[in-house]
């Protein structure tokens, strides 16, 4: 059978074994990509027919997600994590090392060889980076030696599943525990508690606890659930946002690994309260290695009567959870994009209102919550609101899991009561000589030394959990550049300010970094950044300019000595005219710049 027939056959079997629903398009495409290391044109065409979806729409979805390709990737498809923390740990040199060793060009696709090497957005291994993905699987703790070993394995053509298991080991690195990580609940305990006291009382308890969304936005969880519950509908859905894509965030990775049971308990609790029969975990593609583990957790609960039909013996309590994979799109962490992606589409944020609690997945009322939020809700149901309020501040009750990385001796997961100061955190994680901390990821804020007494709380510095430390040796402009490049890569392209403004901003940061910008450019940066913040369609666009605005406002010392005067050239005249001078036989190097006034 030739490969073309094989692709058609594969799609036919895929459809026969699942469902021909158009909202499964993305999930089918991910399976095809895994099988063929690309989406063959014949597969797209067959899928388009089966799902009654126009071919151009199928192609539009393939084009949207970075992990889907129309031309084959290498048999060894290597993606280096490109967060600033990976770079600080030396990833750039390691990419070079591997490419030189294997004789491949970074970013060039497979070509005739068997290996493709490229970069990808943060893979969530910042506490044990540099990290990479090989054929979708996570490798951590890269160094020269490990790169050499990888090169040898590739040369020997060894299948990835025969590679040393320690390459793929992901450490939990839990450094500080508090309320949430110390409390354990038995499977079904929260559900029994809810069934005993009623959904009304349970919601009241979650409300009294003051639980707010742990993704960072801080919407009141009980209010979200009751809004969904009170929207008239024949179906409702529960969605867990496990698309932990904010650079520097990796706390959900640890919760998914070690607290999957409690996550499912929290989701089922929510389903019981709002009246949902179906739920989804939207797992970022970078966490593919957690898929089997999560599926077994679901199976185990089903076997225990805690998922499926008649949960805990209640005849009208049915709930199923399905895992949907993402495929490399940061924007899908935005809840309405996530829902679009769940429906198999390009992850373009929806117009809001209507909010997902009114019209979410397939137009039905949907609760979307972060992993940590569901776990906290389950624990509150068992231990009570007073227990939860023993930690935190009035406005921000409970604790927050932080993912700490960068320039510190003890990177990892730290659970703190809300209200903890930046200074305390830095002391605990062994950070000395700190220049700045980036809280809440690329979309968050860079905090300078004189603000280290500020605290982690919704009323001060809100965060989904990312906490990246930079010492005084670091060039913060390189950090800003990494973030502005990230947003150019991750903008969905829907609205003008984010799509075009983000790219213009990135060019200006680059110009500033290489010492070609003037004060006029700084003003332009501010104009573009402010426009993006005020007029973008969604949260990605409104927060994408934060790194630039923080740089301009709080870290002028990083760029003051790189500025040129307003009439200086924006580019290197010598370099730009080099070829022309060579062709015309002129050997007057230096003459152009010498003539500058």
């Amino acid at each position: 059978m030739n490969p073309t027939d094989h692709a058609v056959e594969f799609v036919n079997e895929l459809i026969a074994s699942s469902d021909a629903e158009p909202h499964l398009l993305l999930q089918h495409l991910i399976r095809i990509q895994q099988e063929f290391s690309c989406i063959p044109a014949t597969a797209s065409a067959t899928l388009s027919q089966h799902l009654d979806t126009p071919l151009a729409v199928v192609n539009g979805v393939i084009d949207f997600y970075t992990f889907l390709h129309t031309s084959p990737r290498g048999e060894y498809d290597i993606l280096f994590s490109d967060n600033i923390t990976d770079r600080m740990a030396g990833s750039q040199l390691l990419i070079k090392q591997l490419c030189n060793r294997l004789g491949v060009e970074p970013g060039a696709g497979a070509g005739t060889g068997n290996t493709s090497v490229d970069a990808t957005s943060c893979t969530g291994m910042c506490d044990q980076g540099p990290g990479m993905l090989i054929n979708g699987m996570t490798i951590t703790q890269l160094d020269e030696q490990r790169i050499e070993q990888i090169a040898e394995l590739v040369e020997q053509n060894r299948p990835v599943d025969e590679w040393p298991q320690d390459f793929f080991a992901v450490s939990e690195n839990i450094r500080r525990t508090d309320l949430l990580l110390n409390a354990r609940i038995q499977a079904g305990e929260a559900l029994n508690s809810m069934l005993a006291s009623g959904s009304c009382k349970t919601l009241e308890s979650i409300d009294a606890a003051g639980l707010r969304g742990r993704g960072g936005a801080g919407f009141k969880t009980a209010l979200k659930w009751s809004l969904c519950q009170n929207t008239q509908a024949d179906e409702r859905y529960v969605v867990c946002n496990a698309d932990e894509g904010e650079p520097g965030t990796f706390k959900d990775r640890v919760l998914l690994q070690s607290r999957a049971e409690e996550l499912l308990e929290g989701m089922t609790l929510c389903a019981g309260i709002i009246g949902a029969r179906k739920g989804f975990i939207y797992l970022r593609g970078e966490y593919l290695y957690l898929l089997d583990h999560l599926n077994s957790s679901i199976e185990a609960r089903r076997a225990n009567g805690l998922l499926g039909k008649s949960i805990t013996g209640q005849s009208n309590f049915d709930f199923e959870v399905e895992i949907h994979l993402g495929a490399g799109a940061y924007i899908c962490g935005e809840e309405s994009s996530l829902i679009e992606s769940l429906e198999g589409k390009r992850g373009i944020p929806r117009i809001r209102p209507p909010f997902p609690v009114m019209q979410g997945y397939l137009g039905k009322p949907t609760v979307v919550n972060n992993v940590e939020t569901f776990i906290a809700a389950a624990q509150i149901t068992v231990h009570g609101s007073d227990w939860f309020r023993t930690r935190g501040t009035t406005e921000s009750s409970g604790t927050k899991l932080l993912s700490i990385s960068g320039d510190c001796r003890l990177p990892g997961i730290y659970e703190y009561p809300f209200g903890v100061t930046i200074r305390e955190i830095l002391k605990d994680c062994g950070a000395d000589n700190t220049q700045a901390v980036q809280v809440a990821g690329a979309a968050g804020h860079m905090i300078p030394v004189d603000e280290f007494d500020r605290s982690i709380a919704y009323e001060d510095i809100a965060t989904g959990g990312s906490f990246m430390v930079f010492n005084r040796e670091r060039d913060l402009l390189a950090v800003t550049q990494n973030f502005s490049r990230f947003f150019v890569h991750e903008s969905c392209g829907f609205c003008t300010p984010c799509r075009v403004g983000g790219a213009l901003l990135d060019k200006l940061v680059y110009k500033l970094q290489r010492g070609r910008a003037s004060r006029y450019d700084l003003e332009e940066m501010r104009t573009i950044a402010t426009l993006m913040r005020d007029t973008s369609h969604c949260g990605l666009g409104t927060t994408a300019p934060n790194p630039v605005l923080d740089l301009l406002d709080k870290f002028p010392y990083t760029y003051e000595n790189r500025l040129i005067d307003d009439y200086g050239p924006a580019f290197d005249l010598e370099a730009a005219t080099k070829d022309a001078r060579e062709i015309s036989g002129r050997h007057d190097n230096g003459i152009i710049t010498e003539r500058q006034p």
Partner: protein, 239 residues
């Protein structure tokens, strides 16, 4: 009936109406490109940005409310619109003097309306191929502003799905639904609604470019605030 204020003037609205819909019904102009009253609101160009009690919102997607005090003309609002238009100009290749849509182009007309005098930002100069494979219609992707009006018209009115958006971020681009990706192989017909809704010079009728001479065109004598959309009332047939 409920009302909100637009630059101080009371505008009546019915529940569920957007600021844009209510303003259009009251014959008040809010600059826009991706909005067309015949289609569901989209909100991608952001040119209809207005300010409500200090907060910037897009008039085409935001529902009107009683307590709204909408600023549609302050320097800040106008500057934002100008910057957004400048971004659209530098993103594509919009060379008005060489464009057959000049004078009947809404992008150009709105740019005049907000007083845009230069593209200001660094040009991207993208390299996009023109598709002239269809007998009656040509497409110049260099001028597409991703308003998705053709996408919506083809899908919602023509029932054909000829157009869609591919790519992401700065690489987002209009794509054609045919096996070759060419317009000539698609099911597009010259009578399709999708052919009539383009606010710029991206989708063009062939052999009709200069039926209407320069100087006699839609926006040559009166501004867009009075004339309205290029797609309205058959304006897009160049006659």
């Amino acid at each position: 009936m409920s009302t909100f204020r637009l630059d101080g003037k009371p505008i009546p609205f019915t529940k569920g109406q957007t600021i844009m819909e209510a303003a259009l019904a009251a014959s008040e102009y809010i600059p826009h490109l991706c909005h067309n009253p015949e289609f569901t609101p989209h909100g991608s160009c952001r040119v209809c940005v207005v300010q409500n009690n200090g907060r910037f919102i897009s008039a085409c997607t935001q529902q009107a409310q009683n307590d709204m005090d909408i600023d549609n003309s302050s320097t800040r609002v106008n500057d934002y619109r100008k910057s957004l238009l400048q971004m659209l100009f530098v993103e594509g290749n919009h060379v008005c003097p060489g464009c057959e849509k000049s004078g009947a182009c809404q992008l150009q007309a709105v740019a005049y309306y907000v007083g845009m005098l230069s593209p200001r930002f660094t040009h991207f100069f993208p390299c996009r191929e023109v598709d002239a494979s269809h007998a009656d219609v040509a497409i110049d992707f260099n001028r597409c502003i991703l308003c998705e009006l053709c996408v919506r018209a083809s899908r919602d009115v023509d029932g054909k799905y000829v157009f869609t958006i591919n790519g992401r971020g700065l690489d987002a681009h209009l794509a054609i639904n045919s096996t070759s990706g060419k317009l000539g192989d698609s099911t597009l017909s010259v009578d399709d609604k999708a052919v009539q809704v383009c606010p710029v010079g991206a989708i063009l009728l062939k052999n009709r470019a200069y039926d209407n001479p320069i100087g006699e065109r839609l926006y040559d004598k009166k501004p867009v605030s009075i004339i309205g959309d290029v797609a309205a009332n058959g304006n897009n047939k160049h006659d």
